[in-house]
């Protein structure tokens, strides 16, 4: 790998990161808060690439001879083409039902003590899956009482064939993504393929089950209506 090639590889790598971070592509892989750092990283890499190209064009042949042996950069650098390929050409989708089925549901911990704040206004009121599961499991649904609730997630199929609503929870990047799963009761979406995004409205039900993967309690939701929706901009919870 000569200097010029190294410069081009750096430019591609920096450019791929820059492109992913100025569009919404990066949201499929990492948390929103990383965006400024990704942009800074892309700019640093692109600058390093431009400086490399600049110095190597300006260099006279005699300069090259002076330190010719450092022209061959690390061969392992070729591998940086792979993430460029991944980001620019393939752009894999956000984690979906395959990942959700492989890992156990997250434990929806009770939020500081036993008192849950009253639900926000709205009819139906929109809740995150984690919030719903936490209120349903640790508060026995008391704070959910009688309200119509709206949940958004993708469909995943449990080992027994019944559909479940799921969303991946990231703490840092997709490598640590873990699913939050909700069992479905009532008028469940039928004949919807896995990975379809849906918005459900319904009410709390006391039914629970165990996630077969890690034996964690899974809350259920009594579905009244449902509709297919496009994948949200922020696919993770």
């Amino acid at each position: 790998m000569n200097k010029l090639t190294q410069g081009v590889v750096l430019l591609l790598f920096g450019g791929a990161i820059l492109r992913a971070s100025v569009t919404d592509l990066y949201l499929r892989y990492v948390k929103e808060g990383l965006r400024p750092f990704l942009i800074a990283t892309g700019l640093l890499l692109v600058t390093a690439a431009i400086m490399t190209l600049w110095y190597s064009f300006r260099e006279t042949p005699s300069d090259e001879d002076d330190h010719g042996h450092e022209h061959h950069g690390p061969s392992v650098g070729w591998l940086l083409i792979l993430p460029v390929l991944g980001l620019l050409l393939v752009a894999p989708p956000a984690l979906g039902s395959y990942a959700a089925n492989q890992a156990g549901s997250v434990v929806a911990e009770p939020v500081g003590g036993s008192d849950y704040p009253a639900l926000p206004a709205g009819d139906p009121v929109e809740l995150s899956l984690v919030d719903y599961a936490s209120r349903a499991l640790f508060d026995a649904g008391k704070s959910l009482g009688g309200r119509e609730i709206s949940l958004t997630g993708f469909i995943t199929v449990a080992p027994d064939g019944s559909p479940m609503l799921a969303r991946m929870v990231l703490s840092c990047c997709a490598a640590d993504g873990r699913p939050i799963k909700i069992g479905l009761d009532g008028r469940t979406p039928i004949d919807v393929p896995a990975d379809t995004w849906v918005q459900l409205t319904g009410v709390y039900t006391a039914r629970t089950a165990k996630d077969p993967v890690n034996n964690v309690d899974v809350a259920y939701f009594d579905v009244r209506t449902w509709q297919e929706i496009p994948e949200p901009k922020q696919p993770y919870a």
């Binding site: 010029l4 790598f13 499929r28 450092e70 894999p92 703490s171």
Partner: protein, 342 residues
């Protein structure tokens, strides 16, 4: 991956530092740039078949995890590379002689504690430690820094406190145990380590070029070098992530000793960034707190992507001794702290 012609040329350049014969430069018809251009054209032409190739759910998940590990690590890599280039080019050698105690046995804990103030994850600290050794810092101290920095900085400890609500002792145990491991490994290196195990790449340009040109040369070299090994590590971590179903692990959680070993090995295989591993540990709720502490102590110090990067930066002879030694010490110290504090 480079052309055989390039590979054949490299040793001759290494051996005689003199100018290459003019024939070798004019003879080269297909250089790396042409290979790269050809590769890119092929990739764009075969874009659709390539996308189809990764359309199966397992392979797709693999690609997503692989890309996300790299996207997540890129800012930390860039920060580490930039800082190590500053150390290599702008910080005079005399600074380190003044900043660190002259006795190596005292320099080790000082360097370990210096890791507290430097936020960042493990991908950044490998090139920084390489730079420190290059600038004359005793390897034992640089290695203590390498181990301590990713594990005990404020961001990581805050994340640990958040991930284990109501259990602040988890973060305390993590910080103390990690610091102890870093210092022990540093001292162990002083007693048993041989400096010839470390083979830093020869980089004369850092001293001969004008400062800014040297800075950018160092950045370029480190991104390609450490970044390339990061790609290997990310691929390994993505494979483990997709191949090992969690249900296997659950059956092992009941046995106290086995669960510690399982989570220690899992920390090595998963290669999660130190800023995120606390959340993963929190979700492994079927395991004992002590085994999860070991997971948090081992993870930032030994994992697949770190081993890959250390092999690249310090050489194979170093990595093959350093990683197992660190693993054993980290498991023992982590278990001891878990038994006493948790």
């Amino acid at each position: 991956m480079s052309s055989p012609r390039l590979d054949a040329e490299e040793p001759s350049h290494e051996l005689d530092a003199g100018p290459p014969s003019p024939a070798s430069t004019s003879e080269r018809r297909i250089g790396s740039l042409e290979i790269l251009a050809g590769l890119l054209v092929l990739l764009v032409v075969f874009r659709d078949p390539l996308s189809d190739l990764v359309s199966g759910p397992a392979l797709q998940t693999w690609t997503t995890v692989f890309v996300s590990v790299l996207v997540q690590a890129a800012p930390f890599l860039a920060f580490g590379v930039a800082l190590s280039a500053v150390i290599a080019v702008f910080v005079p050698r005399s600074f380190w002689a003044k900043a660190l105690p002259s006795h190596p046995a005292l320099a080790v804990p000082t360097a370990g504690l210096a890791g507290v103030v430097l936020p960042g994850c493990e991908c950044g600290s490998v090139p920084i430690a390489g730079s420190l050794i290059r600038r004359g810092v005793t390897p034992a101290a640089a290695l203590a820094f390498l181990l301590a920095a990713p594990a005990i900085n404020p961001i990581v400890l805050t994340a640990t406190v958040i991930a284990f609500p109501g259990r602040p002792e988890m973060a305390v145990a993590r910080g103390l145990a990690s610091l102890v491991v870093a210092v022990l490994i540093g001292w162990l290196w002083l007693r048993l380590g041989k400096n010839e195990w470390i083979r830093l790449p020869h980089r004369p340009e850092l001293d001969t070029l004008p400062k800014w040109q040297a800075f950018w040369a160092a950045c370029r070299h480190d991104v390609l070098h450490a970044g390339g090994f990061l790609v290997i590590g990310a691929a390994a971590a993505a494979t483990i992530n997709v191949v090992v179903p969690e249900a296997w692990l659950t059956s092992l959680a009941a046995n106290a000793v086995l669960s510690i070993l399982v989570l220690a090995v899992l920390a090595v295989l998963l290669s999660i960034c130190s800023e995120a591993d606390a959340f993963v540990a929190a979700s492994l709720s079927q395991f004992s707190l002590t085994s999860r502490l070991v997971f948090l102590v081992v993870g930032p110090m030994v994992d697949l992507k770190l081993i890959s990067m250390q092999t690249g930066v310090f050489g194979r002879r170093f990595a093959s001794r350093f990683a197992p030694a660190t693993f054993v010490v980290a498991v023992l110290v982590g278990t001891a702290f878990g038994v006493v504090l948790l």
